[in-house]
């Protein structure tokens, strides 16, 4: 079953996340390496989720804009302007997550 394997993978990740702080407390030297590893994983997952949801939202925006243009080609200019603005505002949410991932990767604020 695909479903069960996916579930077990998620459970494994969650259990690993729950126990990682315990391991991290054991040795101070290993702690920073552990945090770095987990921040990389977190950044990757956060970016994946943000990109997926932003793609969903942008797809919805584009589809309704094209529908509106098809119904009323005369208003194409106005609709295009609104679409562009909306797309950028949606995209900036994904960009925020990207910036946070960059901070996690490069600045390492811990």
């Amino acid at each position: 079953m695909i479903n069960r394997s996916v579930l077990s993978t998620i459970a494994l990740v969650l259990v690993g996340g729950a126990f990682a702080p315990l391991y991290a407390q054991e040795a101070a030297a290993a702690a920073s390496a552990d945090i770095a590893r987990w921040s990389i994983i977190t950044g990757g997952f956060a970016l994946a989720i943000a990109a997926g949801l932003a793609a969903l939202a942008q797809g919805k925006a584009v589809s309704s804009a094209t529908e509106a243009i098809a119904r009323n080609p005369g208003a194409a200019g106005d609709i295009r302007g609104a679409l562009l603005l909306g797309l950028v505002l949606i995209e900036s949410l994904a960009i925020y997550v990207f910036v946070i991932a960059l901070i996690l990767f490069f600045v390492k604020p811990f």
Partner: protein, 268 residues
């Protein structure tokens, strides 16, 4: 992010030429330099943009003519015309006085974005300092213009409650408005920074994997993103200016559209 910086010969050159002077002036004013460059690369790139645009302007001025304009002049006139069109469409007849700031910012960001695609240069807009500078400029400018247009009391009152809403809503609206206006600075700067820096990072990663032909599609994407982000920065600053300058007249015309163009959406 230090390890991502590769030495650029022009940065080294400018630092060798001007570095000691700037260093001594800065030390006298009580500023202590850190890092191995006295003048950071993004400032060198900003100076390059200034030189480039000034050169462009001088070249353009030499061939300027009303009767038979050259190709270059027609292109520039079309660009300026489209910016004027945007201002007229969004702000109305009052909008033209914002043309210098808005189009200069657009030109600066456009040239800055495209500099990242030239070998031996970097995009200054891929540094948070430059984009935050642009965003802070716009932020203070539109508040000042709003105060100038409406007076300080009316301008602050329009944060309190939108027209047609009971005044007691202000207790809820005012903190939200203040937070959203503060967030505009962050969103303007981070959007540009994230786009341009991310694009440069992707090109760098692809280049380090296969340094031949594979980064080209990404660089083509960079051409599109660069123009789009410059346009968007310009458009958002026009919308913010419109939100600050527009005097609401909703009380006397129910259900009618504003006489000019759009109403600004709640742009964050």
């Amino acid at each position: 992010m230090e390890k991502l910086e590769h030495p650029l010969w022009i940065v080294e050159f400018v630092n060798a030429m001007l570095g000691p002077i700037v260093h001594s002036i800065g030390e006298k004013m009580g500023y202590h330099f850190t890092g191995h460059h006295v003048i950071p690369p993004y400032i060198v790139m900003c100076l390059l943009i200034i030189a480039f645009v000034a050169l462009l302007g001088l070249l353009l001025r030499r061939g300027l003519s009303v009767e038979n304009p050259g190709r270059f002049q027609i292109v520039i006139e079309d660009l300026i015309g489209s910016v004027i069109g945007l201002l007229d469409e969004w702000i109305g007849p009052k909008g033209r006085k914002f043309l210098p700031l808005v189009s200069t910012l657009g030109l600066f960001i456009l040239v800055g974005n495209y500099m990242g695609l030239v070998p031996g240069l970097m995009a200054p807009t891929s540094s948070i300092n430059v984009t935050l500078g642009c965003a802070i400029t716009i932020w203070f400018y539109y508040h000042i213009q709003g105060v100038k247009e409406q007076g300080i009391v009316k301008y602050i009152a329009h944060f309190w409650a939108p027209p047609g809403v009971h005044w007691s809503m202000g207790f809820l609206m005012f903190p939200i408005e203040v937070i959203s206006h503060t967030a505009r600075m962050m969103s303007l700067s981070l959007r540009l920074f994230g786009n341009i820096f991310g694009e440069e990072l992707v090109i760098l990663v692809l280049f380090s994997i296969i340094p031949f032909l594979v980064p080209l599609p990404m660089m083509f994407l960079g051409i599109v993103t660069g123009a789009l982000q410059a346009f968007i920065f310009m458009l958002l600053s026009i919308i913010y200016l419109q939100g600050a300058v527009a005097v609401e007249h909703h009380e006397d015309e129910h259900g009618h559209d504003a006489p000019h163009g759009h109403q600004a959406p709640a742009a964050a």
